[in-house]
Amino acid sequence: MRPTSGLEVVRAGSLTTVQDLGRPGYAHLGVPRSGALDTEAHALANRLLGNPADAATLETTLDGVALRAVGTVTVAVTGAPCPVRVAGRPAAWGAPVRVPNGAVLEVGAAAYGVRSHVAVRGGFAVPAVLGSRATDLLSGLGPPVLTAGTVLPVGRPWGPVAGADTLRVPAPPTELVLPVRPGPRADWFTEESVAALARGAYRVSSAGNRIGLRIEGGPALVRARGGELPSEGIVLGAVQVPPNGLPVVFLADHPVTGGYPVLGVVPHEALAGAAQARPGVAVRFVMVGP
């Protein structure tokens, strides 16, 4: 099916990728789940435009993206709050915005948070790989990271634009609280060091990416037992502890197996917050019931 409209990348931003709900169900073949890190922002952007939840959107990183309309399109920007302009004029964030043929949609730098989502009515119709259009940075599946000049095809609209929705604009977080359900390898660490997690002055490291949220500062976890752990399956939100003792919270592009012990798992509901936490933000781990 030939696309009737598209969006040409004018400014790609520091890291802009196509994302949807990812490709779960292929982990046994070594394929990461991938998909939007802030699934709430992705779903809201689609809902504003009458798209199904699995329509592909763009995920930006800190400094937004600029796109020129090929044919008139309707877009919505959600996630990290940011200035939105169409043809140089201010436009709404978190609402449907019409971009006339030839006009440039400018998604500016995030005021706070990290990742903004740009949805288009009809969805980004790049080819799907294993049922998903998501860019997977770990294994290289899906469309490449956006570069200037690329034209992204837009699919046919599903239904009418939904228009208004209930928008929750979160305040800038001063602290990222990560609930952790212990297991499967919590017993590989001393109880004292696990208890110290909740008191630790940890903060988000700048070394994080779509694979994992990295943590720095605070006390390192201490192993209660030595030895190597044979490779085992890893879930979204797993808190893996490499030999340096500083936890890594695995996000959407996480590997499917790993050889370091997993202390516990952060529930999915808390991962959108993790995806929007900037380097330097304080992190507190709260161990919750088994």
Partner: protein, 211 residues
């Protein structure tokens, strides 16, 4: 199955099942797939079943604790030698580590090919990259250490050995395994059905290319 299955909690909707050997993982993995295909209501909603070295991860479980209790009562038959699909992979045995591997095995370099082609392998699990399978089957006396210094780029199609495993690199990537040969077989093609030549449970026969 000889040993017990230990079910470890993994968040709100997953279980890690731990056993004592690769053979028990194979049996348990096959049993989970059998029960899911048969519509076991306790496995409804399961997205991913991920075998690994000594574990099977089940992700997408509605009631992990209840499932753990049921698994304790499962009868898990061992996997029969001829069970599962088989693929034949032609290999040229000219890898840069052939001499070192032969030395560690105490055989002539020319005998490495015969040992590898004479071994019935089985894909125990995948990971590292899409389509990369960890193949078990090498007798213990042929298990090998990883290279002290990993290569920054291992060519796609390289047949490599490390620890108890053999594997073939689906694409060029860094790697520390011992390289004994190379194949033109396409290990991974997302446009093909199935995308992965090596999926867990697949039996693999290496043959000498052109022989």
């Amino acid at each position: 199955m000889t040993g017990a299955v230990r079910a470890l909690p993994v968040g709100a909707e997953a279980l890690l099942l731990e056993v004592d050997s690769a053979a028990e993982v194979a049996a348990l993995h096959a049993e989970v797939l059998r029960r899911r295909a048969a519509g076991d209501p306790w496995l409804a909603g399961v997205r991913d079943v991920v075998p690994a070295a000594r574990t099977v991860l089940i992700d997408g479980v509605a009631a992990p604790e209840a499932l753990a209790a049921r698994i304790a009562g499962w009868q898990v038959p061992p996997v029969a030698a001829g069970e599962g699909p088989e693929v034949t992979v032609p290999v040229r045995f000219d890898g840069p580590d052939l001499a070192e591997v032969a030395g560690r095995w105490g055989v002539a370099a020319g005998e490495v090919a015969g040992i590898v082609t004479g071994t019935p392998f089985r894909v125990a699990f995948c990971g590292f990259a899409p389509g990369f399978g960890y193949l078990t089957g090498l007798p213990e006396r042929f298990h090998l250490p990883r290279r002290a210094t990993p290569r920054t780029a291992v060519p796609a199609g390289s047949l490599a050995l490390a620890g108890e495993y053999a594997g073939v690199y689906p694409r060029s990537s860094p790697g520390g395994w011992q390289l004994v040969g190379r194949t033109d077989a396409v290990l991974w093609d997302p446009g093909r059905e199935p995308a992965a030549l090596f999926a867990p449970g697949v039996r693999v026969r290496f043959v000498e290319a052109g022989a």
